[in-house]
Symmetry: C2
DNA sequence: GCAAATTTGTTCGTATGTATT
DNA sequence: CAATACATACGAACAAATTTG
């Protein structure tokens, strides 16, 4: 037995899916029938299906069946752009990213209009990925608490020194898009940035607010990008399958202010979490074409 | 039955692992004993273990047992830095990234020396993640073939127009680190960049080579970052578990040259693939602290 | 180097629960 | 409510990988 039965079956199905023989949205035979077709037991078929599920090729729905999933049209966000340093601030962060999202959605819609009919009768898993989608954000929740270790480390304060925590959820249409949590040292409040404690949007953006209020200018920022499994909260918010297949991007941006006679000092750290299966990021350096970067495909 | 049995068991184990009750490297009881302990069948225990496996908390080894996996110390790569535009070229690409890797390894080793003994008797899964590790690269393989669609799109050429394909594998010590494939339009060869066809390293880097040889300067580049499941090749090269748990980063960098009276025109596209469970990226904007960015943790 | 013991991997069968139509 | 389809759980047997004696 070179390869286990369930994997032979899975590979066979994978081939059929990738060749388009099984179109996105198509329903597979039910597990019993399917087992008879391949002349194996139901459990073996289930193992094969599980293998495909983990890889995101099919999706099972209790009471309905197993379906081939379509490719998700990714959302592209620009993290940094030499030509427009402000754009970087958008970096998947806060309302500042909305302008880009809106522009992209407009273009996507246009693209779809131009290519209407090309994709023929694809299942609804593919069609109109972002119908009538406007970006929106929840009212921020505000909390004061001791800094967790991973925050204290970034802000150069002690663990359990107090910090202000502002948390927001972002949607595109009714689809959850990102979770964002920013930590500010209490220090900033004492210096007069009292609006940070109020549970309402700071229209101009917190960075600009701090600039106007405290004369605090962000001289630079450092963004870390990592990928990990979602925690329970995230899985629930993003409606991720609980088989742990989809991981999330975690963007950690630390903002620095200039201090006289000192090296740049951190004054905020923002954690942004987005599902890794439907987001892409772009970094522009130097002179690049004007149009927004299109989603990339490889392989 | 609010929650299935196998998940209750998995959650219980997860708690024990995350609280450190079960240390990294620790071996779990075998499946039969374990089943008796929880008073469930072997299959149910296996379901629980599978749940943990998919999330990367434990690892099963046939003939040996199930083990708690330790946290992997991530490799951090700087993708772009305002203060040093050259650093961006390193961006996980080619030999240029070696300097940073080496500096980081040196610092990590020092850090380990300073904190020696702190971690006590942790399993060998954790200790010395990168022992005696020097970055290295294979001799590039060179190929001429028709451009695949996803390349033609980026280089603004026709599908099946010929391109030069240069491919390299990178290691840190004996650990596979990244796979890299760069596509150049045949056009460049005709203009005189014949070294692109030779299967040997271009010491100065191809971008500099093209600058010297063709007076072609890269005026800018656009980097796309996405995450996806590894293909068969990648899984084999990186020794990824075949349960599809670990996904890979795919970095797609398009390099642009200035053309008189025209917008920037693409002259190369590089695909770099790295495992997502042991790599992080950093983007520096403006003025940030001098030291290399430390790996981030969140949650 | 080989054989035995241990441990996980695969496959079958069967029964019952839960979600959807 | 009934039918359909996937989800969970149990039990059993043999295969394959690894370590140990």
């Amino acid at each position: 037995m070179a390869e286990p039965l369930y994997r032979q079956i899975a590979q066979d199905l994978r081939r059929k899916i990738e060749s388009g023989d099984l179109a996105p949205g198509a329903r597979l035979p039910n597990e019993v029938e399917f087992g008879e077709e391949y002349d194996v037991s139901r459990n073996t078929i289930r193992d094969a299906i599980k293998w495909l599920t983990i890889r995101g090729l099919v999706e099972t729905r209790p009471g309905q069946g197993t379906f081939v999933v379509g490719r998700i049209e990714p959302i592209v966000t620009t993290l940094s752009d030499d030509r427009d340093p402000e754009a970087g601030m958008a970096g998947g962060e806060g309302a500042a990213a909305f302008a880009e999202i809106e522009e992209r959605l407009r273009q996507q819609k246009e693209h779809q209009r131009r290519h209407a009919g090309e994709e023929a009768e694809s299942g609804d898993a593919v069609a109109g990925a972002w119908p009538e989608a406007k970006p929106s954000a929840t009212i921020p929740t505000v909390e004061v608490k001791g800094a967790p270790e991973y925050v204290a480390e970034r802000l150069r304060i002690n663990t359990d020194d107090e910090v202000v925590v502002r948390h927001q959820q972002f949607y595109i249409g009714r689809t959850p898009w990102s979770l964002q949590t920013t930590f500010y040292p209490m220090d900033l409040i004492e210096r007069g940035a009292t609006d940070l404690l109020r549970a309402r949007n700071i229209a101009e953006g917190t960075v600009k607010y701090l600039a106007g209020r405290l004369n605090l200018t962000q001289c630079g920022s450092r963004l870390r990008i990592l990928v990990r499994a979602p925690n329970e909260n995230e899985a629930r918010f993003f409606c991720l399958p609980d088989d742990g297949r989809v991981s999330v991007f975690s963007l950690v941006r630390t903002g620095y202010e200039e201090r006289a006679g000192d090296s740049p000092y951190p004054f905020r750290v923002t954690f942004t979490v987005l599902p890794a299966d439907r987001n892409q990021f772009v970094i522009n350096q130097g002179i690049v074409p004007d149009e927004l970067a299109a989603p990339a495909r490889d392989q």
